[in-house]
């Protein structure tokens, strides 16, 4: 067992974990943050994407012990002060989800995409989300949702 200290969604946790414990299992089983999902066993699907120190990471590809000292944001921590993140709003407005299983990872990956490219074209969105699979939407409305968020964030920035 190894002791780690992580900050998840602004809350500090110190835990005893097996060295082999995957971050996604740590989040889901130890912290009960079940919004981060598992859809495959080969790091293809992206349902488990979280942010570690601000970068999007598939939490099935990293061990909890590697995250000692890290700041982690999961889907549960994306909204702030009761306000949905523009991406959450966009997915809702544009029907960017159906079953909702891929959605947390998709939103977290899209947030990282918009951080790197605040005004992506349709093509850039499609390529930017290549690490995340959705089986329900055909991606059409996911693209619209990300565009919605990009425009909303740009408008908010312009207003600042």
């Amino acid at each position: 067992m190894t002791t780690i200290t992580v900050t998840v969604n602004g809350v500090r946790y110190t835990s005893e974990v097996e060295p082999r414990l995957l971050l996604v299992h740590y989040l889901r089983e130890h912290l009960n943050l079940t919004g981060t999902h598992i859809g495959c066993d080969t790091s293809q699907c992206g349902a488990c994407v979280v942010h570690i120190n601000g970068d999007s990471v598939k939490s099935c590809t990293i061990l909890a012990v590697q995250c000692d000292g890290a700041e982690i944001t999961t889907i549960e921590g994306l909204a702030s002060n009761g306000q949905l993140h523009p991406l959450q709003e966009g997915f809702w407005e544009k029907h960017g989800l159906q079953c909702g299983f891929c959605t947390p990872g998709m939103i977290m990956a899209a947030a990282d995409l918009l951080k790197r490219n605040p005004n992506p074209t349709e093509d850039e969105i499609r390529h930017g989300l290549e690490g995340n699979l959705c089986r329900c939407t055909g991606y059409e409305n996911i693209v619209r949702a990300v565009r919605y968020a990009a425009e909303k964030m740009a408008a908010a920035q312009a207003a600042d």
Binding site: N32, G35, H37, C40, T42, F101, T137, G138
Partner: protein, 787 residues
């Protein structure tokens, strides 16, 4: 303001979904999110062989591992029955061999479970499963349905001689033979509809808890049909009363058919929970889902289509080998029979058609319904053959379609294949609209120009019809379906005026809560926010056969409407009593009952609900409370239709296909929520075009699944799917009072052949007449270069 102007109608509006707030914030409740006190975890020991005898199983090392609670094998579970074979091919002998909870004595596919380890956590369970030693005696395997029924093929089940599950036919063989023998033109093709893996993003699983004091189970399951699973598990597998089992489907992360069926894990978690007295959980990982949960399609077909030189189709003869996999999955035989053969002629009047289907066991994963279920296979076949025929006689494929379409005045239309009559349709406007959006005439000119420059573009047309709203019970009984297919709903208006609807339908992405609430709010005239839709728990919902076959609106939704109608009727009676008016003079409109001619004299539904609930002043004989249940069994299925058009460019050097445009014009009857309908169409199209371009489950000859993970099985990413252009026509269904038809499967049913027809059109200059799917660059390059 008059009473009729007071409330805006919600039906037909693109409301955003009420389901979404929890799902976009990480607060959904999917199966693997559920933890119960004292819960144990199961890991399976699965066969590495496609076909083998089990010689011995030694679990001693696993049992010695700290944290391991028990190891069980199939022989421990002989006190329960195999899974039921609920839909057998109609009118012929079937040889159903459904799976047991765990394999006994022999295995029939790679991934067949031979033992289960129960441990304190999933890491320990998995480690211990690796320590279970199983000795096998491998047997020869067969993976191809046509080869499986040939003499000398390896025999998989003693109870199914020659690996035949059933042999079934429909249509008129003599007429089809004669039409083909006397035809001016006959085109013949071997058409393979490759095996697909449904791939809901959430895999499957079950959690079972047993209460020894009452003998009752609660099972949480990834299910599209919890009421059916309750019935099958109790009455057939365990032989206990239905009342001893409560099934709960929490949020379900996609199904696409794969979660309709009664699976072994439902049974072995129940068995283990009872045996051990602790709750147990089993969740597949993705590679287990790919190996053992059901696959779809997998047909080999020899097809012949006959016609005249001027484009009239005169006959169709089809011989299909349908791969059923290693065991008989729940409704496996119904898919390649009723839902395939009976709609093989599609949108065309074909005077003579005949279909013969052989269902075959092979050493592969079970094959059962996958989005569209039989109808994509039928639609692919006829639409490919029609294009093949058009090319043969040198006629525009759009023109051949127009010449053979069933005409609006032909409805209700009997296709002569043992199906109920097509309810309504108007096929040409949808075709014309799609071609107009595509700029068809202009495209043909551009195509000819570009060919001169060595660029190969193609356009593909797919006109489809499907069977949705699957029911009625009496007809489905005659199709071999082992139960009814009605739906039920309860509607209650509480004292506060809040409305609670419970439904036996089971949304798993379709947005039924939103759609149903729109209907109820309009019909009852109450605020949308005051309507709550509850589903998923057999303890709190009336019986339903589940959500599949695009039937939850056309059957389940109509059951809700009929309960609302009953509520309104009772409310009118009560209003007449309270207003001291004649019942005949009471108008119910916009949530208010009033006396005809005096709109001021009335009671709102809330007031009437309160009056009914407190029951101080009811008419003689009226029971308290506004609470009504309906059981709706429709008189017919519904038959959505449409035309899709796609444009591709093929690079002859690399064989790479670029999908330039995809246009979908669909007619699902009246639309309750166009945003949701469009989303269903998008998703369906992505799955169908993925079949054309990317996906295919591949086994080697030994029965090893070569596409066993998402690394090898090409579920498309966002970059592999084009922008989709949608439009629609509206031909209401006369079958139900909502005029709805269903939209969940249409996209998948239309799209594979739409893309294939475009690719083959692009390759026409190279003499390519047909290509098998998926049309990988290698396959296309070989077709161009004749290698």
């Amino acid at each position: 303001m008059t009473a009729t102007e007071m409330k805006e109608r919600l039906v037909g509006r693109a409301l955003k979904r009420r389901e979404d707030p929890k799902l976009i914030t990480g607060h959904g409740n999917y199966l693997d999110d559920i933890k119960l006190p004292g819960m144990l975890h199961i890991a399976l020991v699965r066969s590495p062989h496609a076909h083998a005898k089990i010689i011995s199983i030694d679990a001693s090392k696993a049992l010695a591992m700290p944290g391991v609670v028990a190891v069980f094998t199939g022989k421990d579970m002989l006190d329960i029955n195999p899974m039921p074979a609920a839909w057998q091919a109609a009118g012929v002998k079937n040889y159903p061999v459904p799976p047991r909870a765990l394999a006994v004595d022999k295995v029939a596919l790679v991934g067949d479970p031979v033992a289960m380890v129960v441990a304190e956590n999933r890491y320990i369970a998995r480690d211990a499963a690796d320590l279970v030693e199983v000795e096998y005696e491998p047997l020869p395997a067969v993976v191809d349905a046509r080869k499986a029924v040939e003499p000398g093929a390896p025999q998989i089940h003693e109870a199914a001689p020659n690996n035949i599950v059933f042999e079934w036919e429909c249509g008129n063989k003599a007429a089809a033979d004669a039409a083909i023998a006397s035809a001016e033109v006959v085109v013949k093709e071997e058409i393979i509809n490759q095996r697909l893996i449904p791939t809901p993003m959430e895999t499957r699983g079950s959690i079972a808890r047993y209460d020894a004091a009452t003998g009752e189970w609660t099972v949480w399951m990834t299910s599209q049909a919890p009421h059916v699973h309750r019935l099958l598990l109790t009455a057939f597998v365990f032989g206990v009363p239905e009342t001893k089992l409560r099934c709960i489907a929490p949020n379900v992360g996609g199904g696409f058919g794969q979660k309709i069926f009664c699976y072994n894990d439902m049974a072995f978690t129940m068995w283990a929970a009872r045996k051990l007295g602790r709750p147990v959980k089993f969740v597949e990982d993705r590679s287990e889902n790919y190996k053992y949960s059901t696959h779809g399609r997998d047909h080999i077909t020899e097809a012949e289509l006959a016609g005249t030189r001027d484009g009239k189709i005169t006959g169709l003869r089809v011989k299909t080998w349908a791969n059923i996999g290693a065991y008989f999955s729940t409704v496996a035989a119904g898919i390649p029979t009723t839902l395939y053969g009976r709609i093989i002629t599609g949108v065309y009047k074909i005077p003579a058609a005949y279909v013969h289907v052989t269902g075959a066991y092979t050493n592969t994963a079970m094959v059962d319904a996958y989005r569209g279920a039989g109808r994509p296979e039928a639609s692919y076949l006829i639409e490919r053959m029609v294009d093949r025929f058009a090319a043969e006689i040198g006629m525009d494929p759009a023109e051949v379609r127009r010449k053979n379409f069933i005409q609006p005045e032909d409805f209700p239309y009997d296709n002569g294949l043992g199906l109920l009559p097509y309810d309504s349709g108007n096929y040409e406007p949808a075709l014309n609209k799609a071609l107009e959006i595509a700029g068809y005439a202009e495209f043909r000119k551009q195509q000819a120009e570009l060919r001169k420059q060595g660029r190969y573009l193609g356009i593909g047309i797919s006109s489809y019809v499907e069977i949705c709203g699957i029911a009625p019970s009496a007809w489905m009984g005659g199709q071999g379906w082992g139960a009814g297919l009605w739906e039920s709903a309860n509607v209650r208006v509480h004292l506060t005026g809040k409305v609670v609807v419970t439904t036996g339908s089971l949304p798993h992405g379709q947005g039924l809560e939103t759609t149903f609430a729109q209907i109820v709010a309009d019909e009852l005239g109450v605020p949308y926010e005051d309507v709550e839709i509850q589903w998923g728990d057999t303890q709190g919902t009336p019986f339903g056969y589940g959500t599949y076959g695009s039937r939850s609106l056309a059957v389940g939704g109509v059951a809700i409407k009929r309960s609302v109608d009953k509520i309104k009727e009772k409310a009118r009676k009560l209003a007449a009593h309270l207003l001291e008016a004649n019942e005949a003079d009471i108008v119910f409109e916009n949530g208010r009952a009033y006396v005809k001619g005096s709109p001021d004299k009335g009671k709102t539904i809330g007031e009437l609900a309160a009056a009914a609930a407190v029951a101080y002043n009811l008419p003689p004989g009226m029971e308290p409370f506004l609470d009504e249940t309906s059981y709706y069994d429709p008189p017919n299925c519904t038959f959505p239709f449409g035309t899709h058009v796609s444009i591709v460019e093929v690079d002859p050097e690399t064989g790479h296909v670029k999908l330039l445009r995809y246009i979908a014009v669909d007619d699902c009857g009246n639309q309750i929520n166009p945003l949701i309908v469009e989303g269903q169409i998008h998703g369906g199209i992505a799955q169908g075009l993925a079949q054309a371009l990317y996906e295919g489950a591949v086994y080697n000859e030994d029965g090893q699944l070569l596409t066993g993970t998402l690394m090898d099985y090409a579920v498309p990413t966002a970059a592999m799917v084009p922008h989709i252009e949608t439009d629609h026509t509206v031909t209401p269904s006369p079958v139900n009072p909502l005029g709805v038809k269903g939209a969940g499967e249409a996209g998948t049913i239309a799209s594979a052949q739409c893309v294939m027809n475009a690719i083959i059109d692009a390759l026409a200059p190279f003499g390519v007449k047909h290509l098998q799917m998926p049309s990988t660059p290698e396959r296309i390059w070989r077709a161009i270069h004749g290698k």
